[in-house]
Structure formats: structure tokens, C-alpha cells
């Protein structure tokens, strides 16, 4: 994961809006109203949520379970809709 770029003046920046690293510097987790919560009892490790996540915010852990990266998840709920086992619930953020 790249470090966040800190600019102080215009000459520090490129000519156009161009990230100096990957979009991993752009944390979007604070946009979220609903948080996906995965029920490991129901999950069959099919990986459909990982495939459908439009923000690549789901990783697969060492036991093949999906893990939501809350730094980036915007809470769109696509994973919950696509899950064939209803193993993902959306809970309101505090």
C-alpha cells in the first residue's frame, strides 16, 4: 500500500490530477452508512462477494473466508445481494 502524498504547493503536483501511487491512498470507508457483516456459519467460501465487489474491498483470508476491508468499503451492499447463502448482512454504522 502506497503512502499518502502530501503536497505543499502547486509545483509539487503533476500537471493533471494524477495519483503518484495506486488508489489505495484514497480511503473511501468513511462514505459508508451500512457495513457488511459476514456470517462464517453460513458462508460456503464461494468467492462471489470477492468477485462482485466493485471497489476490490474484499480479500480472501488464509482459511478462504472473505474479509471486508473497511478502509475502502463504501457499503454499497452488492456483496450482500449477490451472496447465494445470505451470509452477508448490512448493519447500520453508528
Amino acid at each position: 500500500m502506497s503512502e499518502e502524498i502530501k503536497w505543499e504547493k502547486e509545483s509539487d503536483m503533476p500537471l493533471m490530477a494524477m495519483s503518484l501511487g495506486r488508489m489505495t491512498v484514497n480511503k473511501t470507508g468513511s462514505w459508508r452508512n451500512l457495513r457488511p457483516v459476514i456470517d462464517k456459519e453460513k458462508c460456503n467460501k464461494c468467492g462471489i462477494c470477492w468477485k462482485f465487489c466493485p471497489d476490490v474491498s474484499i480479500e480472501i483470508d488464509s482459511e478462504d473466508y472473505p474479509v471486508v476491508i473497511l478502509d475502502f468499503c463504501k457499503g454499497c451492499g452488492i456483496c450482500a445481494v449477490e451472496c447465494p447463502k445470505d451470509a452477508i448482512g448490512m448493519v447500520k454504522e453508528a
Partner: protein, 384 residues
């Protein structure tokens, strides 16, 4: 090599000699021959470029942007409704700092359907941050493509070469086609310092908040202003190599002129013999043809126009609710100058109506007769 060619083909030849690497264009009257010849050049191998067929002008500019972002020298051409359809992506090309060069054939906007010349299509794009070059001969069109790349690629700003529908686009003139090796020496290969590169992945054009967007706009304005000296420098270099100079403006019998006609494109060509005629009748009249409209050569015009007795500006375009665009901008440039001359603004030739010598002479004579302009638009030859 000498070759008789039409204005549209001069654009194609300019792109060929500039070694354009990607062409993405959609045909539209009166621009079609530009694309037709370029596709022939790609098909017969004389132009080693990727020719991308697209389904609209919006797509043509979008594909051009992708090509330019990948580091390719990119060319496209359009006209009128096509240019209007590109509007959104014209802003994007500038903001993304992509030095695309495009030909635009000035055609009046519909409705009613029309194909004849008027500048309102390109004038409506003046705030998109594109360099705009208004040409007045076939030779200038060809040469301008080469010069436009040289300027645009140094400052990462796209450039539009503008020519009158039919009067230039379909008129044949003898043209000196520069030698390829000399063009290669004048215009080296483009190395985009900010290109898409899988070795150095980056995201382009991402969300930018009020904390930095302002600075990006500042940099666009700072860099498009650099085009003003660059046109003069690259024009002189072009003259040394090819014997023809192209700067920001062209003057004709201006030195001792009391009354100065300011105009652009093919109307300026017709105005030259009018100036000769009126000089022979003892009137001290002169001509300025504005070639580069964006960035606007304000400083140069202040120098050349302050202290004159009278100035008239002839526009083949209209910004509805105000006046002709060249008139408004020349006035704005001179507003803070002491000894600014009174200025008359004429609208002529909309929708391709001819602007012959006697009409131009009539506008100069009316200006000489009046003490002071009384209206922002003086219409010429309205049937009423």
C-alpha cells in the same frame, strides 16, 4: 514537392508529415475528406498510424484522449454539430493535459440545417482551454498542423486548427509540401512525460477537492499563456527551415494606418485588396488578421492598436445577447489602455453568406464616416 490540394487534404497532409500515430475521427460534411484521405494513407501504409473508427464525435475525442494519454501523437477532425457533441470531452482533454491536435471546419450551427461557413461552432468552445488557430490559406492549414503539435506538446495543451467551410476546406491551392526529414527535424517524436505506463501505475483524473482543483486550473492558464511566445518562437524556427512565418497575428499595411480593420480567416484574405484599393484612394487604412484566438494575443493588440484613430472588427460569428466574439475580446484587451481607439463591431457572412470586397469596403467607409460607435452590433446586409 509542390501539390495542388484542398484545405481538408492539407489537414491530412499535415497529420501525415507530423507522423500522427493514432487517428480517431467521425466523418461530417464539410470535414469528410480529411478523414477519407487519412484512412487511405493508413490503408496504403504511407501513414503508420492506428485508424480508429468510432460511432460519434464524442467517441472520436474520447478515443483520441486515450491514445494521447498512452503517449501517441493523436489527430482528429470535425465540424459544427460534431464539435458541439465533443464539448464535454474537450474540457476533459485540456484538464487531462493531452496535446491532441484537431482540425475544425467552421460550419454554421443548426437548425436550420446548413453546411456553410461561420465561426460560432469553434467560438462556442473558446472556454474549453484549447489553443485555437484561425487559418486563411491552404498552405497555412498544412503548416499549422505541424506548428500546432510543436506548441501543444511543449505545454501539454490541446490545439484546434480552424478553417472556413468550403472557402478553405474545399478550395484547391498550390501547396508546398515540406520534406519529411525536415519536418522530423522540426518536430521530434513526442515523449509524453505523464503517459499511462504499466511499469508506473497511476490513476488519472481522480476526484480532486477544493484543496487542489484550483491549483490545477491555475497551471492550465499559466501554461496556455506560454503559447503566446511559443507561437512566435516556433514560427521563426519554421521560417528558418521552410521559409514561411506564422505568428499570433498577421498585419497588412498597418504602420501608418489611422483606421485599422481587425478580422480573421478568409475575410482577412478578401480584405487585403480592399486595403490596397482604399490606400490608392488616399485613405490610411490597415489590417490585422488575428490568427491565434486562444490564447488571445491581448498584449500584442494593445501595442498595435492603442493610439489609432478608429478600429473596426468584423466577426463571422455571434455570441447571442452580446456581440461578435472577436469584437468583444479586442475591446476587452484594450479597455485599460490610455488612448484606446473607438471600436466598431460588424457581423457579416453568417451561414456562409459571401463577404465580398465591396461589403468590406462599405464597413470601413461607414466607420470613417461616423464619429463614435452607437451600438454593439452593426448588421451588414440584413434583408429588411
Amino acid at each position: 514537392m509542390q501539390k495542388v490540394m484542398m484545405g481538408n487534404h492539407a489537414l491530412s497532409w499535415g497529420a501525415l508529415l507530423s507522423r500522427a500515430e493514432v487517428i480517431a475521427a467521425y466523418p461530417i460534411t464539410p470535414q469528410t475528406e480529411v478523414v477519407e484521405l487519412l484512412s487511405n494513407m493508413c490503408a496504403d501504409g504511407s501513414l503508420k498510424a492506428e485508424f480508429i473508427k468510432v460511432e460519434s464525435e464524442h467517441s472520436a475525442m474520447a478515443a483520441s484522449m486515450g491514445a494521447s494519454a498512452a503517449g501517441a501523437r493523436t489527430f482528429t477532425a470535425t465540424s459544427a454539430q460534431g464539435l458541439a457533441l465533443m464539448h464535454e470531452v474537450l474540457h476533459w482533454a485540456t484538464g487531462a493535459r493531452l496535446p491532441i491536435v484537431m482540425g475544425n471546419i467552421n460550419r454554421a450551427m443548426a437548425p436550420p440545417w446548413t453546411i456553410w461557413t461561420e465561426q460560432t461552432d469553434s467560438i462556442a468552445q473558446r472556454d474549453t482551454g484549447w489553443i485555437q488557430i484561425y487559418t486563411s490559406s491552404i498552405q497555412e492549414i498544412l503548416d499549422s498542423v505541424i506548428q500546432a503539435y510543436k506548441v501543444a506538446e511543449q505545454i501539454y495543451i490541446p490545439a484546434m486548427i480552424v478553417l472556413d467551410s468550403f472557402v478553405l476546406s474545399h478550395t484547391n491551392e498550390n501547396c508546398e509540401v515540406p520534406d519529411q526529414d525536415k519536418v522530423d527535424a522540426y518536430l521530434p517524436r513526442f515523449e509524453n512525460a505523464y503517459k499511462l505506463d504499466t511499469e508506473k501505475p497511476a490513476a488519472f483524473g481522480g476526484l480532486t477537492g477544493p484543496d487542489w482543483y484550483y491549483e490545477l486550473r491555475y497551471k492550465i492558464e499559466r501554461d496556455i499563456q506560454k503559447a503566446l511566445p511559443l507561437f512566435e518562437e516556433t514560427g521563426k524556427e519554421f521560417e528558418e527551415m521552410f521559409g514561411r512565418y506564422y505568428g499570433l497575428i498577421e498585419t497588412y499595411k498597418l504602420d501608418d494606418a489611422d483606421v485599422v480593420l481587425v478580422t480573421s480567416a478568409s475575410i482577412a484574405s478578401t480584405a487585403r485588396p480592399v486595403i490596397d484599393q482604399m490606400r490608392s484612394e488616399g485613405h490610411k487604412v490597415g489590417l490585422i488578421r488575428i490568427r491565434v484566438f486562444r490564447p488571445f494575443p491581448s498584449e500584442l493588440l494593445r501595442k498595435l492598436l492603442s493610439g489609432r484613430k478608429k478600429v473596426l472588427v468584423v466577426d463571422r460569428n455571434i455570441s447571442f445577447g452580446m456581440s461578435g466574439a472577436f469584437y468583444a475580446e479586442v475591446k476587452a484587451a484594450l479597455y485599460n489602455v490610455k488612448g484606446r481607439p473607438p471600436m466598431w463591431g460588424y457581423i457579416a457572412g453568417l451561414g456562409g453568406r459571401d463577404v465580398p470586397m465591396d461589403v468590406i469596403k462599405g464597413m470601413i467607409e461607414q466607420t470613417m464616416k461616423e464619429d463614435h460607435p452607437t451600438q454593439d452590433i452593426i448588421w451588414i446586409g440584413v434583408k429588411r
